[in-house]
Symmetry: C2
Subunit: 218 residues, 2 copies
């Protein structure tokens, strides 16, 4: 939004041109036009259904954004579920925090990163049992919000079949929101999603030699 | 990470070339090299101090990622603070959720979006009193984690002075983490930050006519 941007209609701007409107008046007019534009967009957005959100890219914030949406959903009294497909060393904070809520089912695949375990067969079994839990939740109209954290990693390794995920997404209850995170989201999943954000690295503290620490995503 | 990628060193690869290693063995070797590389990077990252994280860009997830980091920080038992510089219509879920935690100070500027109020003087006063609270928290070593949600919007409108923010960031307690969100982060703030992520829109449900709904970031 540039300071001089005209976000709304131009009706009447010629009439006003001769007036030396004060900065305050100009601000009010600009904001009034912006409000009209936004109100119109809100009025046009009438479809009410659960959405599929995908957070991907190499930057930070994919998982933490999913957990932020989870917090918001719990705040609205939604029945929520989380399946973490990759348990990172620094996910213990989220787990400690969210496990205390009764209205939340929290499942962790619990086998560490694949380069920690170095045991492909075990990873495949773990990913597939995590997916079985996820699929069950997505089929259950009792859940309003399902977070599938780092599922894209399991898809990239082909530990979980993309077709199974697409079928579960398409067949889920109409009002259910699903959030899928992880770098390298497959094209077909992006195609199926309603909202997709790419988190891009601009700067990364870890690469600058700063130690990973509790509570923060470097 | 490509399936055939060599993430680690190449030592010994010629010796192994003649062997018909099983897929399982190749996987283990590849993951072993990846683990060595990652362990080396972790060993090199030795600086322990609070970091400044900036989430910017036009995509979704900037605020929700900040709230996800807040949840994680609370999970680690950190003393946390939030100042929301713009109260959006759909931030009530976060507020309802997070206000129940005693270890968290939660402040909302509480004046709606600037295009809702259309009163520049009132917006400036509200932003400046929100900033006064934020500055106080950033000066207090009792706070481990401070989230300044949508501060970048207040900076873009020049309702809060960039120099004041840069000074407060530089002078804050050494171990304090600060997360600043909002589109249009100023260059000097990006320069001062340790980790910066640009959230890019790939797809946006709201633009496709889907109504904004409780609990989800469209």
């Amino acid at each position: 939004m540039s300071a001089g941007g005209n976000d709304g209609t131009k009706d009447g701007s010629a009439d006003r041109a001769g007036f030396a409107a004060s900065s305050e008046e100009r601000h009010r007019e600009r904001m009034q036009r912006k409000k009209e534009l936004i109100d119109r967009k809100i009025a046009q957005a009438t479809i009410e259904r659960g959405v599929l959100v995908v957070n991907t890219g190499n930057g930070k914030g994919k998982s933490s954004s999913g957990f932020g949406m989870l917090a918001r959903s719990l705040g609205h009294g939604f029945k929520c579920a989380v399946v973490q497909f990759i348990k990172g060393s620094f996910s213990t904070g989220e787990e400690a925090f969210f496990r205390r809520f009764e209205e939340l089912d929290y499942h962790v695949m619990g086998e560490g990163f694949t380069w920690e375990t170095q045991d492909k067969e075990r990873d495949i079994r773990a990913a597939q049992s995590a997916w079985a839990i996820a699929a069950k939740m997505m089929a259950d109209p009792g859940y309003d919000f399902v977070l599938l954290d780092e599922l894209n990693i399991a898809l990239a390794h082909r530990y979980v079949a993309l077709d199974d995920v697409l079928a579960a997404v398409a067949a889920r209850p109409e009002r259910q929101h699903v959030v899928i995170t992880g770098r390298g989201a497959p094209d077909a999943l992006i195609e199926a999603a309603d909202t997709v954000t790419e988190m891009r690295v601009i700067k990364h503290a870890f690469k600058a030699g700063i130690k990973a620490q509790k509570g923060i995503e470097l």
